[in-house]
Structures are given as structure tokens and as C-alpha cells.
């Protein structure tokens, strides 16, 4: 094995490291996750395994036969027809064509569709357009077919929505006001999530993805959890993915709870448990990539969080491995060497049920 190991930074820059440097990166990555998340570090055996994966001279790596997992997505089919800002390649396919191409030409285990403005609030006003298209496509798809969008509670703040922007209130020192407006926005969001999912249920929707829940903080996350619980009471037959947006829930409010547990500051091992308690069928974990650190550091860190999360969860855990998450470099075209190493590690060491 060469002492000059080709690897990358979290921004995708290709670098070389010696074996000892790589091992040090892996160790400090797992230590960081263990300290922040108050969880166990990767074991010595796992650290060795991760080093082997990272130091493998092949361009791409993979798991052994029998270890494969499944893939879900967050509007992956949009990557065909959207532009650069959507991470897409700009091929003018219809949504149906993109969905079937992804299912059959790419061999996807599951497919999905979503609004180009991938949030639930804009879907509400064009709900019939979306449900019509979903219904038509669902007659043709064979693989599980989700409808996905993001709760994105920020859209409920002025000028886009009815609630005062808490950022303005924080700036004025009005903490209680800022909390109250987030609670108001959360109620709007909870109601709208319920409205949209019930409409999709009427057209035989096979599954719903609440992507990046908590992106606007703990009140956003609370609304998504509440909506899942509300919906599961009425629609127990509707599969739901509840995906997180980062390795800890941002405490923009700081005090909101779910089942008596404060959501602010929750790490993945706790996030998956509240997702399960709410009634979600699959929990999504997101660990943000630090672009100033190496992929080895980021991946060791992500694997540590994921391992704790899968051990804590009784429901399947799917790890976000798009650009900038899961240890994948934050860049427009995530390098296949990094993506394959992330995938292998999160399956073999993290015990992920899907990606």
C-alpha cells in the first residue's frame, strides 16, 4: 500500500495523506462525534475497517454481496430536468419520463416526485396539479413511489407568510415574541402538512417523505412530528419517511417539546426515537459535512452518529448521502470515490438500513 493515499477534503479538493495522517483524521472525527453527541466512539476494529476503506486504492469501493441496502430520495428525479441550481442536468423530460427513467434505466429501489419548489407550503396552492400528476404516474410505476417535500417552516414568516419573522424579534431582544411567532408558524405548518397528505391519500399515494424536517429549527421539527402523529391516527396505511436536516436540532425556539422531550439539541440517536414515537415508518438521518475537514474526518464522524442512531432505532434508518451530508463532499458533482466510500462505511459500520 502506497504511503501517499489519495483522498479528499470536505469541499471535494483532492489531496494525499500518509497512512498515519489518515488514521489521525479518522480518530479525531469519531472523537468529535462522541463528544458532541455523548455517544460511543467507533471501536478499534471499526477504526481499522474505516482506514481500510479510505485507503483502498480503487476509484470506487462497495459492500460484499448480501450487504446491499435500498435507496430512497428527496426528489431525485428532478435531477434530470432541473438546472444547476437544482443539481440537475437540464434534460427536458416530463416528470413521468424522469420517474420511469430513474426507476428502470437507473434501477432505483424507490422513486419519488415533488414540486420544483420542494416545500409543502407551495404544494398546497397547486394541490390538484400535483395529485393529478402523482395519480397518473402511479399507474405506471412499479417500485414504491413517494411524494416528497420539505416542511420548511421559514416560508411561513413574512414576507412569504403570515407570521412575523422571529429574526426581527430576536434583533429587538423580544425573545418571548420570537418564540410565540415560531409557535404560530408551527401551527400553520402542521395544518398544511395534514392537508397535503390527506389529499394525496385520496389518489392512492404510496408514501410520503417529510424531507429535512427541522431546517428552520426545533419548532419546525415539532410541527413535522405532530403532523406525522396526527396523520398516522387517520391514515395508518400511509408510509411516512421523516427525515432530519442536521446532526442536531437547532434551538431557534429552545423550549418546544414532543412527548415531554425538548427537541432543541437532539442528536440523531434521539431524533430517530422521536420519529419512531410519532409513528414514522422510516427515519432519515443527516450529518452535515464540514468543508474545512477531510472526508476521512467527516465520514468517521458521520459513521459514529449513524451507528448510535441505528442502534437506538426500532424502525429503518436511511442516511442522507447527498452533497454535503453523511461525509459526502459539499460540491456540485460529488466524487464517486467519496460517495462510494461513504456508502460502504455507513452500511458496514453505521448499519444503515438504507441511503
Amino acid at each position: 500500500m502506497s504511503d501517499e493515499i489519495l483522498t479528499r477534503m470536505g469541499d471535494g479538493e483532492r489531496i494525499t495523506m500518509s497512512a498515519s495522517e489518515l488514521k489521525e483524521e479518522i480518530l479525531t472525527g469519531t472523537e468529535d462525534a462522541a463528544e458532541k453527541g455523548r455517544i460511543a466512539q467507533l471501536t478499534a476494529e471499526e477504526l481499522d475497517k474505516l482506514f481500510e476503506i479510505m485507503a483502498d486504492p480503487s476509484r470506487m469501493v462497495s459492500v460484499e454481496p448480501g450487504q446491499e441496502v435500498i435507496v430512497t430520495d428527496d426528489g431525485g428525479t428532478m435531477s434530470f430536468y432541473s438546472g444547476q441550481d437544482g443539481g440537475g442536468v437540464g434534460v427536458p423530460l416530463s416528470r413521468m419520463q424522469a420517474i420511469l427513467t430513474y426507476e428502470r434505466a437507473c434501477g432505483a429501489d424507490t422513486t419519488s416526485m415533488g414540486h420544483s419548489d420542494y416545500s409543502y407550503k407551495p404544494v398546497k396552492s397547486i394541490i390538484n396539479f400535483e395529485t393529478n400528476e402523482y395519480y397518473t404516474a402511479s399507474q405506471m410505476t412499479t417500485a414504491p413511489f413517494f411524494y416528497g417535500a420539505q416542511p420548511n417552516m421559514g416560508l411561513y414568516y413574512q414576507p412569504d407568510g403570515p407570521c412575523v419573522n422571529p429574526a426581527e424579534l430576536f434583533a429587538e431582544g423580544d425573545i418571548e415574541g420570537a418564540k410565540k411567532t415560531q409557535e404560530e408558524a408551527a401551527e400553520h405548518l402542521r395544518r398544511d402538512l395534514g392537508f397535503v397528505v390527506r389529499k394525496f391519500d385520496e389518489v392512492g399515494c404510496e408514501g410520503i417523505n417529510f424531507d429535512t424536517s427541522g431546517s428552520a429549527g426545533d419548532a419546525d421539527y415539532m410541527a413535522a412530528l405532530q403532523a406525522v402523529r396526527d396523520l398516522k391516527k387517520d391514515l395508518p396505511h400511509m408510509p411516512m419517511i421523516l427525515g432530519a436536516s442536521g446532526e442536531f436540532v437547532l434551538g431557534m425556539h429552545g423550549s418546544v417539546e414532543f412527548d415531554g422531550k425538548r427537541l432543541a439539541g437532539m442528536y440523531p440517536q434521539e431524533q430517530v426515537q422521536v420519529a419512531e414515537a410519532a409513528g414514522a415508518d422510516i427515519a432519515g438521518v443527516a450529518v452535515n459535512t464540514n468543508t474545512n475537514e477531510s472526508v476521512a474526518w467527516n465520514l468517521a464522524r458521520a459513521a459514529t452518529f449513524v451507528k448510535a442512531a441505528t442502534a437506538a432505532s426500532n424502525i429503518p434508518v436511511h442516511v442522507n448521502v447527498g452533497m454535503g451530508v453523511g461525509g459526502v463532499p459539499m460540491m456540485e458533482q460529488p466524487p464517486v470515490d467519496s460517495v462510494s466510500r461513504v456508502s460502504k462505511t455507513l452500511v458496514q459500520l453505521g448499519k444503515a438500513d438504507g441511503l
Partner: protein, 93 residues
Amino acid sequence: MRTAGDLVAWMQMTRKMKINEAKAYMAGKLGIDIIDLTNEEVMHQLREDLGLGLVTSVSGSPKGIRAKMKIAELLDIRINSVGLFKSQIGYPE
């Protein structure tokens, strides 16, 4: 559809099965070893024989809602689009 990923996915979605449990369930239903769930040679023939949908297009062979009806029956699960379809065509319970 290439092998059994979609089938394993249905079990995660509808029964909250983690990956190993979902694979074991699927392998049991199909009467194969777990390792053959990702064996194209085995799964292609099984999918064709059972009408579960093939990733390569064979004219007249089940795809879409027709294949999903077979999948729901084989896996003993509810697929919402299939339920709606059956209700709309007067499919007997």
C-alpha cells in the same frame, strides 16, 4: 426492479422492517437465499415468472399497477395505489 430492492423497500415502508428483517422476509416469500435477492440471474427469472415487473421491457408483461397488484399479494401488504385501483374497477374483495 432490477433485482429485489423495490420489494425490500415495500417491507421497510409498510411493516417498518429493518434491512436484515426485510431481506429475510423477502427471501422467505420468494423461497430463495438472502444472497440471491441481489442476484440478477435468479431475480430476473423469478420476477418474470411471478409477474412482479422487469426492469427490461417485455411487451405485455406486468408493469406498473398490474405488477404492484402481484407484489401486494405476494408480500401480503397494502399498497395504496393498488387499493384505489381495485376499488375503482370493482375488483372483488
